[in-house]
Structures are given as structure tokens and as C-alpha cells.
Amino acid sequence: MAAVQDGGSEPEGEKEPQPELPSDGSSAPAATPASKPEEQQQQQQQTLLAVLQFLKRNKLIESVDALRREAGLADEPDEAPGSEAGGGVGGAAAGSADSADASALLSRVAGAAQSGAASAPCNISFSSIVLFIVLSVGGEDQPDVSVVLSAYSQQGDPSLYQVYYSGLKKFIESVLDCHRAELSQLFYPLFVHMYLELVYNNHESEAKAFFEKFSGDQECYYQDDLRVLSGLTKKEHMKGNETLLDFRTSKFVLRISRDSYQLLKRHLQERQNNQIWNIIQEHLYIDIFDGMPRSKSQIDSMSGSLAGEARREANKAKVFYGLLKEPEIEVPLDDEDEEAENEEGKPKKKKPKKDSMGSKSKKQDPNAPQQNRIPLPELKDSDKLDKIMYMKEATKRIRLGPETLPSICFYTFLNVYQGLTAVDFTDDSSLIAGGFADSTVRVWSVTPKKLRKVKSAADLSLIDKESDDVLERIMDEKTASESKILYGHSGPVYGVSFSPDRNYLLSSSEDGTVRLWSLQTFTCLVAYKGHNYPVWDTQFSPYGYYFVSGGHDRVARLWATDHYQPLRMFAGHLGDITCTRFHPNSNYVATGSADRTIRLWDVLNGHCVRVFTGHKGPIHSLAFSPNGKYLASGSTDGRVLLWDLGHGLMIGELKGHTDTVYALKFSRDGEILASGSMDNTVRLWDAFKAFDDVETDDFTAATGHIHLPDNSQELLLGTYLTKATPVIHLHFTRRNLLLAAGSYNSQ
């Protein structure tokens, strides 16, 4: 795509960007069985001939020669281009009755090449063909983005679009009930693509009429998208809209049972005017499964995302969701420690204490990644001390459950006037950081201990380095204060994250940078530049050193603190990435996006291993369960969805909030899920029960269908209202006290 846009200046842009799911071998949208190699050859041959015809017609002789040399064609048979060839290429060309129209032909090939319909082996040569064409045409009537959009060239008579659509509607209303729900999935993507086609080809009035007539039929959860579409009436409007372009180039995925699909195919191929069939082949990907057709409620729970549902292959990769083994640390036992932990309470005897959640066996958990799968920083002495503190606190932890609910301590930010945009707590709950719309970051101390800066170099040289309390002496008492303000960003700060060792603070902002601040000197150390657009969220890895950031450019980046460029780029979302979270074992990153999907990425190789659809609005909060198996997500539709990472399925839906869920947190042992929302409430849900029901079910993993029980009411343990404070952040202390934060909204 880069090559095409820049007029072919970069040779490496030539390579057809692999579709995100490389197992696209049978990606022919009609879901025919994988084409045999001979068929592929045939398609390739015909495309080549088509291109040659076009070039000759335009009298681009040199290009013709060059291409012929490149393709190794000895002579040029005089064949009509673009005959029906079954795959995406042919399918696109089939509709062009006017093959003499050079631009239509170009767009066919270009569109086909870019839509990635051709199977993998053909890709390289197709793209080089495209490159040739672009170079030869010289971009006279093909400005960059138009090539992308050109797959919307005329499919048929514009005034008949309404007829086609109504015809399909009538057909679907006449089928059996069991099939109707599934086939109704077609309406929305077809509607959008047909509308965009009309707009692209400058049939403004027909487009408006089409829109007015059929937009009301669509599902209610697509209303936001439809509203955006309604403002898009001219071709020029389409060019600047990234989300729309992505929608066009990525295929909308539908999951339909085989029976329903046969019905549909038979109906559409019967008719003379099979324009809809062409559109389906070109823009939709129908994932066929064998089994019972799904019911409306099942479909509704999984749909809603910008690109349809997730293909089955997208969720098939193995995910190592287990936790890494905690290192064995020798804990010096004090007399005051509980003897319940071990029988010998003697201080001299050292006995390694295991993490309360760690596995007791020495064997490797098959679901856990290898210790060295990704490089992780080694444990320093200070980290070991932290771990000891952690374990001590863990022994005093309250066991939560439906009978013992946590107490909630709410930290309200006053006088902020809606300027509070991000909050984070340290793991030991000693510091709070707030990111504000005035581009400052403020750090407060939660404990009575004040915040101090390290002394200047002159003073440091004066202190006694051998003394025991040297760590206290390096702090400058004169700078002690309750809070510190960090200046540096030039735009509102949308994400803050403390490092696990409490030395660093990250903040991400609308100015496109992620800044690393030192919490010893309270100054900015590094500004990581890479996103050139607002960065909506950032988070440190649970082991430190790595951090992830995601923003408006639809890419999440994995950084290490000592590299000024990102280590990994997670590209694939269609909309802004609004939430990024690390898995507890630091091997995976979950990203929630404005395209209403959640993706799980593997840190090791950058692959997307899970795609979860089902939310009806942009996702604003994610939380991994402490045992690493489950993910909870909250979005603007007020629902909290629960996902099983191992199987790649939705296993629960928690309804109750009436506004965006901005905060989600599992308690320390995973018994309770707390959710905080813009509707000024904190709700507690019984996580054990929600996941328990799942264990006993027999997963229909083959088809991926779930019957979600409507048990939100039983799982809801409590609703706690604030007066007028939306809840922005939740945090369970090490002893399972729930802390919440938000800014008082006086209106």
C-alpha cells in the first residue's frame, strides 16, 4: 500500500502486506474449497493477460515489454480479460461487463490485489503487476487513496440498488425462522458497502434515498456507525476517514451455518442480476460452520464490532495463560510472623515461602510460558525485599466472597472540573498518580510518609555512604511535600502507570509522547516518541522494564525503558486503541479498541492470538484475572464481558451499569470483580461463580457457540453509589481493601 501511495518509490512496499491471518489459504469469500494450483495458475494467467491488454490499449509500450519480460510471457494471446475465475480476482472482474473501460479493469486488479482475496502464492506477482500499472499510468487519474477506494467501482445500475436490497430483504423474510436470524446478519454490511459504492461513484441522490429507506432497518447497536455514514455524502469525505478505509479493505466476517449459506447461495445465483453476490464475494468473508443455525440472541451477543465477528482461525492459536513461577526467596522469619505459616517459628531457620497463588508443584504448568520465553529483568535486592513485603501482606489478606464483601475507600479529586483523565495506584497502594487535562501529572502520597526528592550532587557527596540508613539520607528533607507536580507534556495526559518497583512513572498524552518520570527526583527522564497521534493508554509490565502504549494511530507499541524505539508493533485494529493491559505473565498484551474488538497479542512475535467481538461500543477497560485465565472488559455500552483466553470464547456477560464502564479490577485472589462506571456506581460481581459455571459446561469449541445464562442479577453482589463522582479507577490493596478514584462532578 505504501508503494502504491507513494507512486512506487519504496521497493519494499511492493510486497503485498500479508493479511493479518496468514492462514488465509481458503480465503475465497465464497468459501469454496481451496483452489487447486491449476486454478490459481489460471487466474494468474488471466489477470496478466488482462493487464497486458490494458497497457496496450493505453499505448504504454515499454511497460508492456517490461511486464512481459518480468512475467516471462513469450507471446501475447489475444484474449478477453477478466473472465469468471471463481476466486476473488475473477469474482471482481465478473461484474465488469464493460471490459473496455480501462479504469474499471485497473481497479479490478488493484482492488483484488489489495483485498487480499488471492491466495498466498499469487500475492507477490499481483502486487508487482499493480506496481507496474501504477508506474505506467503515472498517477494521472489515480491519486493515491483512490486506488484503495477503487474497488467500489460500478457494480450495476445505481437506481437498481434499492431493488436489489429490497429483493434480498424479501427473500430473507421468507425463509424459515431458524435461518432468518443468521441471514439477517447480511443486512448491515451489505447496506454499508452498497451505500459507500453509491457515494464513491458520485450518485449522491441515490445514495441519500438508499440510506433513508433502509437505515432504519439496521440493528440498534449499529446506530453510531450509521450516524457517521449519514454525514458522508460525497466522495471527498471518504478520503480522510481512516476507519472507513480500513472497513473497506478488511473483510466483514459473518459466521453462518452451512444450511443457511446454501439457501442464500442458491437464491442469489438463481437470479439474473447477482450484484449482491458480487458484493458478498468481494467485501464479505463468510465463515461457514457445520451445525445448528444460531439464534438471534446468540448472534447479537457476538456481533457489534466494526468488522463483524472473528474468524474461527483467529482464535485457534495456543495461548500460554498460566503464570510464571515465582522465584524462591528465602524469607527471614520474625517472631511476630504468624506461626500458622509454618510450624517452626524460629527466626534463624530460613524456609522459602511460596507465593500464595503460585503452583505448589515443581513441574512446569503446561499452560504457562517458559520462564525465558521473553527476556525479563532479573530480581534486584530491592525487588526481593519488595517480594518479602508482598508475601507478608498477603498473609494478612482478607478472603473475600459473597459473604465478605470488601470495604471501599474512595479517593475523590476535588476542584478538577472534569480535568482528571487518568489515575493509577502503586501496587502497595502508597502513591496515587493523576493525569490531568492541563497536561500535568500529579503524584500524591497516600500514607503519611511524604514525598521527597533525592539530594543534589553536592549534598550527596557529603553524606556518609556506609551508614545503614543511607537510603534515608539521600533524600532531601527540605523538599518533603504531600504531592508533587510533574510538568512536561503538551497535551492532556490520558494514561498513567507506576512501575512495579515504584521508581518510575509513565504517562501518555495527547501530544503523542509517552514520558518516563523518575519518582526519586520527580523529573522527566525520557520522552518516547513514536505515536504521532494521541496516546490513549499506557501500562508497565508486571515485572517492569517493558511497557505498552496504544493510541489513535490504531497501533499498540511495546517498548523497553532502555530503547528509544518500540520493540514490537501490534497492528490490526480498525479503530483507535483505547485500552492496553499486560497479562500477569507479561507474555501477552490485550488491547481494547474503538472498533469494539479486543485483541490479545503475543509479545514474543507480535502475532494476534485472540480476537474477541461482542461489545457494542468502544472498550474502555480491561482486567486480567489474577490466575491469568480470564479477561474482563467494559465498554461504553455498560456491559462487562468475560472471556476465556484458553478457549477464546465469551463466557459471561454482566449487565447492570447504565453508562460507560471505565474501571475494572479483580480482587487479589480473583474472587470478586469490581467495576466502576460513569453512572457514579461501583458494582461488585461474584467472579468465582461466573467462572465456575463455565467449567462444568461442555464447550462447543468447534463452533464457538455459547449459551450465555442471563445470571447478571445473581452475580451482582452489591452496588455502591457515589454522590456525583464517576469512578475512573479501581485498585485492590494487598489486603483486599478496594480503593476507588474519581473526580467530583458538580454538575
Partner: protein, 273 residues
């Protein structure tokens, strides 16, 4: 809470998801026509709750955008030696403005390609026991962004000037461009690589170990900063202290008496080091 562009989701950034005040405006009859149009646009885009100032902000943006485009188009028309501005000029003006201000993120397949290449390299191994893990110094903001003048300085003749050589520290920092609290960051942004950026107010050394930095506050208000520096070092406390402060004060008060002072300050600027 997090603004999104209006063409991505339907909630305009300015109004966000917050519950703002409902529109309490004058009756539509008394509103200017532009404002009525804007209200209609907001309604069509599905935005129902917004503060009344949003209309003004949107109108201001519209006005600014349209005048910018038309001015640009006028320039292009005169450049092409046309007598009047026509649609082509406007189109060109819009195009140029789009490429400059309203850029959009790269397209998806480009991102996929770049990501594929980047993700191929294995994750780098982590060196053990490396201290604070930061990028090379040129990519950090941990270098000082000022130089101290040498201590051997000729005594100036003006009565109001500082006579103590050591107070050249003060002279350095009393340059007219008094940075505000935000400036070190601005300097950071402007000075890419090589130009050191402020860290600590250490009197004697220039290179600062990266681990320490006082807050911005000490470095910036230059005059109190100088005083602080002086105060820290006990050897300067004493009679000179008083002299220093009054000089500072007098400098501040007579800052607009100007040109003479400025010239001196220019002279004082930056010894050749």
C-alpha cells in the same frame, strides 16, 4: 472522558461523555443564523448534550478554517496570475491544509507491513545489573541545559550591577528569557540531540549524573534560583548575601530601564568556553 474525533465516533470531543449542562440558550429567534446552523449540525450528528459554549467554539473553528482556506486560495490565485479566485484555488488550498494540519494516521496495510518487519527481530536480551535502564543519553532528557560561566570575570562599572565575581551565576540566569515552569520541557522538545537539557542546579560541575534532578522549580525562576544556589553553599553566606539579594531586587525593578542593562547583559552572555 477521552475525546475522540467526531468522525470516528459520534460523541464530539468537546462534549465528551460527561454530563454537561443542557443547552440553556437564548430562544432560537434571537440567535444569529450561524449559531442556528451549528445547532442543527450538532443535532444531525447525534450530539444532544453539550455546554452552550460548544457552539461558540465550533463557530470560531469554522470561521478560522474558512478564512484560512480562502486566504490561502487568494495567494494561490495571485501566484497563478489569475484575476479572481476560483474553485481550483480553493481545492488546492484545502488539499494543502489537509496534508499539513489534518493529517490522518497511516493506512492499515502500511502499518501491518511495518509491524511485520519490526516484529521479526527477536526481543533483545536484558543485561543484568545495569542500573537504571534508560536509552542512550542523547535520547534522554537528563542532560543539563545550561552552562555556567567561568568564575574569572571582569568587574563591571555600573553601580547597580553585581560586583562579586561569583555572582556571574546570577548574571547568567538573569537573561531576559525567564523560563516559566513549562519551558524546560519546551527546550527539550526544541533541542533534539546534543543540546543538553536542564537537570540540576549544581554550581561547579557541568555534567550531572543522570540519577538526580531537583524539580523544575529550582531551575526555573532564575532569580530565586540564583539566590538559592548561593545560599546552598555556606561559604557565600554573609555580607555578600545581602548584597546579592538587593542586587537581584534592583535588577528586577529596573528591568525596563533597559537598553543599557540589556547591552551589559549581552556582554555578559556566554563566555567563550
Amino acid at each position: 472522558m477521552r475525546p475522540a474525533r467526531p468522525d470516528v465516533t459520534s460523541s464530539a470531543g468537546l462534549v465528551g461523555g460527561e454530563k454537561g449542562t443542557t443547552v440553556k440558550m437564548a430562544s432560537p429567534k434571537t440567535l444569529p443564523k450561524d449559531a442556528q446552523v451549528m445547532i442543527q449540525i450538532l443535532k444531525d450528528m447525534g450530539i444532544t448534550e453539550y455546554e452552550p459554549r460548544v457552539i461558540n467554539q465550533m463557530l470560531e473553528f469554522t470561521y478560522r478554517y474558512v478564512t484560512t482556506i480562502i486566504e490561502d486560495a487568494k495567494i494561490y490565485a495571485t501566484h497563478a496570475k489569475k484575476s479572481s479566485v476560483d474553485a481550483d484555488d480553493i481545492r488546492l488550498a484545502i488539499q494543502c491544509r489537509m496534508d499539513q494540519s489534518f493529517t490522518s494516521p497511516p493506512p492499515r496495510d502500511f502499518l501491518l507491513e511495518v509491524a511485520r518487519q519490526k516484529n521479526q527481530t527477536p526481543l533483545p536480551l536484558i543485561k543484568p545489573y545495569a542500573g537504571p535502564r534508560l536509552p542512550p543519553d542523547r535520547y534522554c532528557l537528563t542532560a543539563p541545559n545550561y552552562r555556567l560561566k567561568s568564575l574569572q570575570k571582569k568587574v563591571s562599572s555600573s553601580a547597580g550591577r553585581i560586583t562579586v565575581p561569583r555572582l556571574s551565576v546570577g548574571a547568567v540566569s538573569s537573561r531576559p528569557s525567564t523560563p516559566t515552569l513549562g519551558t524546560p520541557a519546551v527546550q527539550t522538545m526544541g533541542s533534539k540531540v546534543g543540546t543538553p537539557v536542564s537537570l540540576t542546579g549544581q554550581r561547579f560541575t557541568v555534567q550531572i549524573p543522570s540519577s538526580q534532578a531537583p524539580s523544575v522549580k529550582t531551575a526555573t525562576p532564575s532569580t530565586p534560583g540564583a539566590v538559592q544556589n548561593v545560599l546552598i553553599n555556606p561559604s557565600l553566606i554573609g555580607s555578600k548575601n545581602i548584597l546579592i539579594t538587593t542586587n537581584m531586587v534592583s535588577q528586577n525593578s529596573s528591568s525596563d530601564s533597559g537598553s543599557l542593562k540589556r547591552k551589559h547583559e549581552d556582554d555578559d552572555d556566554y563566555d567563550a568556553l
